[in-house]
Amino acid sequence: MRAAIRVLLAATATAALAACATAEGSGDSTQSASAYDYPDTPYPSTYRPYPGAPTALVGATVYDGAGGRIDNGTVLFADGKVVGIGGADLAIPAGYTRVDGTGKFVTPGVIDIHSHLGDYPTPSVDAHSDGNEATDPTTPEVWAEHSVWPQDPGFTRALANGGVTSLQILPGSANLMGGRSVTLKNVPSRTVQGMKFPGAPYGLKMACGENPKRVYGGKGRMPSTRMGNFAVNRQTWIDAREYAEGDRDKRDLAKETLAGVLDGEILVHNHCYRADEMALVMDMAKEMGYRVAAFHHAVEAYKIGDLLRENDVCSAIWSDWYGFKMEAYDGIPENAALLYQAGACVVIHSDSENGIQRLNQDAAKAQAAGARMGIEIPDAEVVGWFTLNAAKAMGIDDVTGSLAAGKMADVVLWNGDPLSVYSRPEKVWIDGALMFDANDPQRRPVSDFELGQPGEGDVK
């Protein structure tokens, strides 16, 4: 299976600047070589969808992830792909297993754009601390996939309690350039290659603000200030451009990643809290000829919703985390709603092995905070915050993130309204294969780590 993924691409810096934002910030997508074909992928995905029966979900309220809602809807999928989505009148071909969704809800599989599962797995012992190569402020040469422990029990919780079908594993934020991210299908596997999302573009994790300057300032080296952060970043980009504009014959792992960014093949995911710093980063991106796909954490994004819209940058945020560090002091629960009002792209993320189990609830909290200040956002749009918008910012939106014919059959059947605290995933399909069923004690993954331990196979 070779999904031809179109990478969110700015062919040149000029094109990136010219990209006009849409209301939900999808940006210009132009055809590019599939990342699957990129010569820089020596650890290719070996994931293949598991077998699934042709299935017709009928009678449920369907949120398609793209802003659509169908009451008493029908979702058809077979051979790993969505075949059709429609109302009660949608014809169900012969041979389909009907699943009655009366009183239930269907959404696309949940996507977490910001996870450290596998590279900071549980148990959270020092021996498992594989998320920050905190030995140099720029380490674009490291790849998160080389740290991912597929046996992290957190993957199974994200599936069973969170309905998560795809997720981006990022390096940590100790470094200005933390390394490459990897996008996974949330399928148990003996190897990380067996989880890798076929054809998904790589990301480059960057971080501004307190973390890099604290980590390296604490070691008595640059950067120890925010201006130091920028100086190190800019010089690194200048050196990378020189490499990228040359013949690239000499292998240089760090510069290959940065050249991939400059080529538009690798998407920048930038940890950044403060509005003023995000504005500076967007100018740095223009200066150096790349674009930022998403600011992560972005607790002050609401202060610059206009700039984020104009620059077509998504904000991947919690609903209401604040105060745990100085640069998080101005976090407010209305962040998502104010961004939405400004026409900027909203993604709800977790950055947490616990929060990833409740992204739907986090989105609902953000929606409610908006409603209280008069910003009414339809449920169907809010579902997009943890499905299609995440997929867009990760460059996988043409194959997953919404329920549309031809897309991967990544589907969650919820036992109630997914924006209610009282609802849980009942069934989760990944590429049309049933990977979790609350009604079947055996249809639940159990990590190697948990075998023979107390609570093995428990509901969790």
Binding site: K303, I304, M326, N354, V421, R424, F449, P454, V459
Partner: protein
């Protein structure tokens, strides 16, 4: 040798209601009393003089009490958050603003959160806006297994936050305690026993316990406990003691059972070891905090009558001491007869308590999972933490005679889309503004055509 007691302020002073308490009644609301029962539709709550005088259906509002129509709203007791660090910090990672830990202090058990509380902390204000009216607060252990003494506070806007200082002692006896004690559980348990023995001896020699003039036992939240640290005593101490005099004195009420000992443990075996402490120290008034594997020993906890403040949604083996963690933990313990409150320390912010309680209701419809009924879930963040904190019948419930902590919500309080619209502490309506609401109002739009945003306040 008798020590002279320095008695603190009386209960009357501490619990007197502010003069601004106003009588009020809310009618036609959905009222949930917090005692574990189901919500009552078209019900009424009446508060007079800072106290609840009636709550339920068919309540007649006394003449002269101002009535507001609560149609469409829900009314609950104020949320009781335990265990928290509210009022002890401003920014977590800004050390100079953070009084939760004292890594370099020579003291441990003697540390007292009460004088450090800042009632104007944004986290107090934000939690109040989230419907929390009371909280247990405690330092975090950093220099010893003993974190120090926690307080019971209210979240009202008046400057008097601490309602019961030195309300409990907090100790770490699991993995964290092992590290703090020197590297192992053996060290933690040895340190604990030695400390309790030293405290016991100090208590006898100073006259703090056992003497004919010892202070009355304090078992409820009504009274301000004696501060044993300030007892003037000439009691000689052995030359090989480990505890400072202050730390030993602080542990006297723990050994005597007058001050509850909150013990943080997760593993089933650790819970058993804690329950077994009563064989050596029979008067210990234990409360278990965490208890991630509590469901595995639920019958034993129930038989011991030890209440639990448990993490609600922890379901990962984050540490080896909690391999069996499951979101069904609280439901299973409750089914076994354990008194369980939801631990506010096991979430990003205490204002998530209703959401976490709501998640336990959700579990009730998940096959094989153990959850709570709606009424039980509300009780786990209201009446049960109040009972564990020594305020049973006074806080966390809407019933005649209870303190007038009342929250009016714009919908089902356990639902993520709901929020408080009015919050009362001691019958006094509270301001709900804070740093976050100021930012929200300033950035409602991004228009700076006339002046910069800095003038928008």
């Amino acid at each position: 040798m008798m020590g002279r007691m320095l008695l603190a302020a009386t209960a009357v002073l501490a619990l007197s209601s502010p003069a601004t308490a106003q009588d009020f009644a809310i009618t036609n609301a959905t009222v949930a009393t917090g005692d574990g029962s189901a919500p009552i539709e078209n019900a009424t709550v009446v508060v007079r003089g800072g106290k609840v005088v009636a709550a339920g259906a068919n309540v007649q509002v006394p003449a002269g009490v101002p009535v507001s129509d609560g149609r469409g709203t829900w009314v609950t007791p104020g949320i009781f958050a335990t265990v928290t660090d509210l009022g002890l910090w401003d920014v977590g990672a800004v050390g100079e603003s953070n009084d939760t830990t004292a890594r370099n202090s020579p003291f441990s058990a003697a540390l007292d959160a009460a004088p450090a509380v800042n009632p104007r902390s944004q986290h107090v204000l934000i939690s109040r806006a989230g419907g929390i009216t009371r909280a247990a607060i405690a330092p975090s252990a950093a220099s010893s297994i003993f974190a120090g003494q926690g307080s019971m506070i209210d979240l009202g806007s008046d400057p008097q936050a601490v309602r019961r200082p030195r309300a409990f002692q907090f100790v770490e006896l699991g993995e964290a305690g092992a590290r703090l004690a020197g590297g192992s559980r053996t060290a933690a348990h040895t340190l604990l026993r030695n400390a309790l023995r030293e405290a016991s001896r100090f208590g006898e020699e100073s006259g703090l316990v056992g003497g004919p003039n010892r202070p009355a036992e304090v078992t409820t939240g009504d009274d301000i406990p004696v501060d044993p640290r300030l007892v003037e005593s000439d009691a000689e101490r052995a030359t090989d003691v480990l505890l400072t005099r202050f730390d030993a004195a602080a542990l006297v009420p723990v050994v005597a059972g007058r001050q509850p000992l909150y013990v943080h443990v997760e593993r089933a075996a650790d819970i058993r070891s804690v329950l077994a402490l009563r064989q050596e120290f029979p008067r210990l008034n234990l409360v278990i905090v965490g208890a991630g594997e509590g469901w595995m020993v639920a019958d034993e906890i129930a038989a011991a009558g030890v209440p639990v403040i448990a993490d609600a949604l922890t379901d990962l083996p984050a540490r080896f001491e909690q391999l069996a963690s499951t979101q069904s933990n609280i439901g299973r313990m409750q089914d076994a007869g354990v008194k369980v409150a939801i631990n506010a320390a096991a979430m990003e912010q205490p204002r998530y308590l209703p959401q976490f309680a709501g998640n336990l209701v959700a579990l009730a419809s998940v096959p094989r999972a153990a959850g709570l009924s709606w009424g039980e879930a509300l009780a786990s963040i209201t009446s049960i933490p109040a009972e564990i904190s020594g305020f049973g019948g006074q806080l966390g419930v809407l019933k005649p005679g209870a303190i007038g902590d009342v929250v009016v919500w714009d919908g089902d309080p356990l639902e993520v889309s709901s929020t408080p619209v009015r919050v009362y502490v001691d019958g006094v309506e509270q301001p709900l503004e804070n740093h976050q609401t100021g930012l929200r109002d300033r950035y409602r739009d991004l228009d700076e055509s006339e002046l910069p945003k800095a003038y928008d306040w």
